[in-house]
């Protein structure tokens, strides 16, 4: 009697498996990667790897950075798409089919528009691709002003994003925060309930400032053992694709920088949250602290591969050449000045500096252990008018 019974589940699987329908066609329509074919990449780009870009799933605009004194005309373009998807390029006759290897005119920073249609024909996405010139190096005393004035809603209108259009900003400066990750866990949150929020008035000079607040991530956060999200804002990118799988790898710090930072100054207000908790959500007897650090690092290894710093090595990587970190933060509801010196562990090579061989990041966070999902919900850190002073 036993054996026939054991066979029954197998029969069940066989019966069900025989009912498997034909595979549905792909519904996705992404550009996963873009590359440009150039005979001598290093004459136009700073690094050979700059000719290939992997495209984050949420991105719809792809920019290739070239040397300030280089020019391009039409280049063969190669798109890596979702299997089965069809690409179209916008021309004067409207969208026409695009095949890999076709020449695309990228002269004068022209923006080319593409449309990708999924294999099942039901979905499509539009993309913009262009080639932009980097800033020319200047051998002068330099101040990078971060006023936090330039923020807006993201494309879905759920939360704030910052962009680097400030005077003397990094040329294609890019700010990132963990807001896209918080959006996954707390879809019901209003924009001002996110960890990183722009406040329009009340900054040091009366204008906008950024408010970082450590927030509880709710039931979904507990599900993946990420119970809180510190407010954060940093130069780099946040890869929401890996926010759940490998949170440390989701924060990618730094963008190429042509100046040598020596000092960072700015203004803050801070209030620690009531109860510090560890990753498991257990109470810990500790007062929360905010964090600011500025890191300059070598962005290429000896083999010519790109080096990026992530959440787990942004303060410890051997690629770091200069580091500044805030200390002595007090709880205050008045705007309070801070200043931190960049300490260099290695000499800056000026030729490398001019050739985008170094990357810079500056990062602000409402909980110093926020990257490990530890801190006190409610810790609030406001920051305004930060200046990165550069020797040249």
């Amino acid at each position: 009697m036993k054996k026939p019974l054991l066979l029954l589940p197998l029969i069940g699987v066989a019966l069900l498996s025989s009912c498997i329908a034909d595979e549905p066609l792909n519904a996705e329509c992404d550009i996963e990667a873009v590359s440009l074919s150039v005979s001598e990449p290093e004459a136009i780009f700073y690094h050979e790897y700059d000719t290939l870009q992997t495209v984050p799933s949420a991105a719809d605009s792809i920019g290739f950075l070239i040397r300030y004194d280089a020019d391009v005309e039409s280049l063969p373009l190669h798109l890596t798409k979702t299997p089965g998807a069809q690409a179209y390029i916008l021309t004067e006759e409207g969208y026409v089919p695009f095949a890999n290897g076709m020449l695309v005119d990228f002269s004068e920073e022209r923006v080319q528009q593409f449309r990708i249609v999924s294999q099942d024909g039901k979905w499509s996405r539009n993309y913009r691709i262009n080639v932009v010139h980097d800033q020319a190096p200047e051998r002068e005393h330099f101040f990078m002003n971060i006023t936090f004035d330039n923020y807006d809603f993201n494309s879905t209108g759920k939360y704030h994003v910052w962009y680097g259009a400030e005077e003397n900003s990094i040329s294609y400066g890019q700010w990132a925060s963990g807001n896209p990750g918080f959006n996954l866990s707390k879809s019901s949150a209003k924009y001002d309930e996110y960890p990183t929020v722009g406040i329009a008035e009340g900054g040091v000079d009366g204008g906008p400032y950024v408010k970082l607040e450590t927030r509880d991530t709710g039931a979904f956060g507990r599900m993946v053992n990420m119970r809180l999200a510190a407010g954060n804002l940093f130069i780099g990118t946040f890869d929401v694709a890996n926010a759940l799988k490998d949170a440390m790898a989701a924060t990618r710090f730094g963008l190429p920088f042509k100046h040598k930072p020596i000092k960072v100054t700015g203004w803050y207000k801070f209030k620690a949250g009531e109860q510090f908790q560890n990753r498991q959500g257990q109470k810990v007897d500790r007062i929360d602290q905010p964090d600011i650090y500025c890191v300059m690092y070598r962005n290429q290894d000896a083999e010519g591969n790109q080096v990026l710093l992530y959440g787990d090595d942004v303060l410890t990587s051997p690629a770091i050449v200069g580091l500044a970190r805030i200390s002595g933060v007090i709880e205050t509801d008045e705007w309070t000045a801070f200043e931190m010196e960049v300490e260099y562990s290695k000499e800056i090579d000026d030729e490398l500096l001019e050739n985008n061989g170094y990357s810079l990041t500056i990062s602000f966070a409402s909980s110093i252990e926020g990257a490990s999902f530890e801190g006190a919900p409610g810790s609030t850190f406001c920051v305004d008018n930060v200046v990165i002073e550069c020797e040249y």
């Binding site: 029954l8 069900l16 792909n26 519904a27 979905w123 996954l184």
Partner: protein
């Protein structure tokens, strides 16, 4: 001689008919209009499944029943040698575990007022169990002296039920959610941080369907039986959208019964 032969043949036929008559009475009911009780105990296996399988389900890699069982009491009443009715109370525990590869599987999870929804591609593990009671109302047809088949509608009510599981990457390392729709953000999900779901609160506490029972009279008072309960109403509450298709419980029971 011829006369004797005729009598012999006659007696033979008569006794054969008598024997046939004896078999019908021997395996009971002894009188055509007899009523009685059957006490049953059985092993229940099966699953809760969409029918037909939607194309989003690409393969079923694991399936195992979760130790189900049924105890039941049926009462029957025969109206004639062949026909009767049967009704009863079945108490059951049934459940299963399954692992399936899915592609663009529309799903939506809601916890504490927050919704995470989109299209998932990867591996979906489901565990479900239901504890409840079934009341069938069956017509019985006696195929032969030892075989009965009964069929009719049933109604189940659940005392306890669950439908929970998790999604993560499949054996090829593919596991991701496209947030909201296939053009939304791609969020990778893997074994180390699976996304879990629990739809207990979205399940109906009743179900209706068809039951078919085969009884075989093994001994004077002992039946061996097999039955199938084929659910015709979805297990989900009206308006439940987290799973994009209706799912039906289909469970079979094999067991023994004492009858008198």
């Amino acid at each position: 001689m011829k006369y004797i032969y005729f009598i012999a043949v006659f007696l033979l036929f008569a006794s054969a008919a008598q024997a046939q008559e004896d078999r019908w009475t021997k395996w009971g009911p002894t009188a055509p209009s007899q009523a009685g009780v059957i006490l049953r105990a059985g092993y229940t296996i099966g699953g809760t499944t969409p029918l037909p399988l939607p194309k989003e389900i690409r393969s079923i890699n694991e399936f195992s029943p979760k130790g189900g069982g049924t105890v039941a009491m049926d009462v029957y009443k025969m109206f004639s040698r062949r026909w009767g009715i049967m009704a009863g109370w079945h108490f059951f525990y049934q459940g299963f575990h399954t692992g399936a590869d899915v592609k663009n599987y529309k799903m939506s999870l809601t916890q504490e007022g927050n919704t995470m929804s989109g299209y998932f591609t990867g591996c979906d593990i489901t565990n479900t169990h239901m504890l409840g009671m079934t009341i069938p109302l069956l017509a019985t047809f006696r195929i032969s002296p030892r075989w009965n088949v009964s069929a009719g509608p049933y109604f189940s009510t659940y005392f306890k039920r669950s439908f929970e599981g998790e999604v993560y990457d499949n054996k090829d390392g593919v596991g991701y959610l496209r947030v909201d729709d296939p053009t939304g953000e791609k969020v990778n999900i893997d074994h180390s941080n699976p996304a879990t779901y629990d739809f207990e609160d979205d399940m109906r506490n009743w179900n209706g369907g068809l039951e078919v029972v085969f009884d075989w009279k093994a001994m004077r008072h002992l039946n061996v039986y097999g039955s199938i309960d084929w659910g015709l109403s979805s297990i989900w509450d009206k308006g439940f959208e987290a799973v994009d298709f209706k799912m039906y419980p289909i469970y079979a029971t094999l067991g023994v019964a004492y009858r008198y």
